[in-house]
């Protein structure tokens, strides 16, 4: 298969450093060679492609921005964003795996963990020897995580954890779960290790979306959590929200990758599919769709890049991350659906990546803060009036 050439209508490459371009080239080739040839089968079978874990680790795709002393690449946020973009050009499930491992597991351990926790977990997570998951959402508390009912009780030398989490990416695969629970009414983070008595993580079945990703319930029945496994340096809902900012940032980039994949498929198809004696690309209605796709991809690229530069400068606001996540996922899904239309009946086949991306993006639009919740976050920011309640 021909190497993917990227979409760059506005010479955005010129705004990237040589290093950033090299990172993108590495992940782009990796996706062409290792992800695309196997992903449709995993999607169909509803399995996560485990052989990719070691390969992604070897390339340095986990905890990309964290310090070298933990075995990480210590790159900037733009490089991390480009990793996410290219991975999601492959599949949102593969990108989700890397997002969770990096932004939702390694990041909180790094930012809120003790030195012992960092030394124990970060190198193993970077190498892909250990897999992590992040448990915030509960069956009855999704957009409103502050209402969570999972609770920890202080006991001699540790905590007793009770409750359940739902919709947890990588849950069944995970060696370590970062679980958010209320301790004396306050949200705290706990590291729950696989094999802990009373802890189970059954996989959720029946998904039509993100099928090449494992989604699970986490169930805690009188789980004993030693004192050494509480994240000592964070209290309150701010903890999980800071993690979500990391992961949402990556999604803003990832969505652009997905949109590039479906746009590329639609453009190629439109140029070669003949109807009424001409390529369908010669019809105005098709051109309008293709132009709209390119237009939105270009805007999304610029949003993601500037967001990355702000994050690297340390001045990014979480509301800016909300805007980029909201916009880029919305348009990626719209682009996937347009691509599906351009491919006609072929659009529903797994010979093309389009329907898989469209289905995946339904999850991406909901997780890490639904489209609506980001609207409300931004609405509050610009009006000063919260409209959540």
């Amino acid at each position: 298969m021909a190497q993917f050439q990227g979409v760059d209508y506005f010479m955005i490459d010129g705004l990237l450093s040589e290093e950033e371009r090299m990172v993108r080239a590495t992940v782009r080739s990796f996706v062409d060679d290792e992800v695309l040839p196997i992903i449709e089968k995993h999607y169909r079978d509803g399995t996560f492609p485990m052989p990719l874990v070691g390969k992604m680790a070897e390339l340095g795709l986990f905890g990309t921005t964290l310090p070298a002393k933990y075995g990480c690449a210590e790159m900037n946020n733009v490089a991390y964003g480009l990793v996410m973009q290219e991975l999601e050009r492959g599949d949102s499930g593969v990108r989700s795996f890397a997002s969770v491992q990096s932004g939702l597991v390694m990041y909180p351990i790094y930012a809120f963990g003790s030195e012992e926790q960092k030394d124990r977990w970060l190198p193993a997570l970077a190498k892909g020897e250990k897999i992590g998951c992040f448990g915030l959402t509960e069956p009855d508390y999704g957009s409103n995580p502050g209402g969570m009912v999972t609770r920890a009780e202080r006991k001699d030398g540790g905590y007793l954890l009770n409750g359940a989490k739902m919709w947890i990416t990588n849950g069944t695969l995970a060696d370590i779960a970062v679980v958010w629970a209320k301790l004396e009414g306050e949200v705290r983070g706990f590291l729950v290790e696989k094999g802990t008595k009373g802890y189970t993580a059954p996989e959720m079945k029946g998904k039509h979306s993100l099928r090449a990703s494992v989604t699970s319930e986490l169930v805690f029945q009188d789980c004993w959590i030693p004192e050494s496994n509480i994240l000592p340096n964070i209290k309150g809902l701010k903890g999980p929200l800071m993690c979500l900012s990391q992961a949402r940032y990556g999604i803003a980039w990832g969505a652009v990758g997905s949109a590039m994949a479906t746009y590329d498929a639609a453009l190629n198809y439109a140029k070669s599919r003949i109807q009424f004696g001409k390529p369908i690309a010669s019809f105005q209605l098709i051109q309008e769709k293709l132009v709209h796709m390119l237009n939105e991809i270009t805007k999304g690229q610029l949003l993601a890049l500037q967001l990355g530069r702000l994050k690297d400068a340390g001045t990014v606001k979480f509301t800016q991350i909300s805007l980029a996540k909201r916009n880029n996922v919305h348009h990626a899904l719209e682009i996937a659906r347009m691509a599906r239309e351009i491919l006609g009946a072929n659009g529903i086949l797994d010979e093309y990546p389009v329907m898989r991306h469209a289905n995946n993006l339904e999850s991406v639009k909901t997780y890490e803060g639904t489209h609506e919740m980001h609207t409300l976050i931004l609405g509050e920011d610009i009006t000063g009036i919260a409209a959540f309640h």
């Binding site: 040589e18 340095g60 790159m75």
Partner: protein, 248 residues
């Protein structure tokens, strides 16, 4: 082992190439340049030999500052150091080979690897010329390589088959696709490349022996011909393929 990989910085094979004004060179404007694909096999083979036998891998390129990007790619893959033999002229193969030979002679490496050809000029000449200038054995179009003490066993691709040859170290090898599967530079490798040195030296100059006097793109393909849409067209198709296209 001291291993040298010679690398060239060439237009991406997917790039659309146009002839520059003057008609003797390509227009480099807006063209993406990458490490010559065959040279990636050379770098990879050096890295594998080093991993097995220890030693040092040096990547060398003759060209302008732009070649540093390709040298950094070799460093990111794992080369220990890089050398730019700097020249801003578009040189003929002999000019490039002479500059390389001077440097390589001084380093006296055990093995020098090239790609079998560079996909810009497609001369497939530099590796062989360097070997000749240095009086070293050269084995070209290599798809398999084994080193045992001071002897090299190489598998070569030949028309319709493979040939196994022996030579002694030091020697020059040119790599063909299939020799190995080049690694992607890892993110740590890319970060690490920043702290590895790129040594710059002026490339030794020799008078050119070959001069490009003209360059043009192939004529645009003529439109295809449809001779029919069902089985009745087959005899005519066969006749045309035989008599006009002369391919059967």
């Amino acid at each position: 082992m001291k291993l040298i990989a010679c690398v060239n910085h060439v237009p991406d094979t997917a790039a659309k190439i146009n002839v520059a004004a003057g008609g003797t060179s390509i227009d480099k404007n807006g063209v993406n340049f990458v490490i010559n694909p065959y040279d990636e096999f050379a770098v990879e083979e050096c890295l594998r030999l080093k991993e097995k036998n220890g030693g040092e891998v040096v990547a060398v390129s003759v060209g302008s500052d732009a070649h540093k990007e390709t040298l950094r790619k070799a460093l990111a893959m794992g080369a220990d150091k890089a050398v730019l033999l700097k020249t801003d002229d578009d040189r003929d193969s002999f000019g490039i080979a002479s500059a390389l030979a001077g440097y390589i002679k001084e380093q006296s490496p055990d093995l020098v690897l090239f790609g079998k050809q560079s996909v810009d000029g497609d001369d497939a000449a530099v590796g062989g010329m360097v070997a000749e200038l240095l009086g070293l054995p050269s084995v070209t179009v290599v798809v398999g390589l084994a080193i045992d003490g001071s002897s090299v066993t190489a598998e070569r691709e030949i028309e319709g088959g493979k040939e196994t040859v022996k030579a002694s170290l030091p020697c020059v090898i040119t790599a063909q696709k299939g020799l190995n599967e080049p690694r992607y530079p890892s993110l740590k490798g890319i970060m690490g490349a920043k702290s590895k040195p790129i040594e710059e030296r002026p490339a030794a100059t020799v008078p050119a022996r070959v001069q490009v006097v003209g360059m043009k793109k192939p004529a645009a393909k003529a439109a295809g011909k449809i001779v029919g849409t069902d089985a009745t067209a087959v005899p005519e198709l066969v006749r045309l393929l035989h008599e006009e296209a002369k391919v059967i």
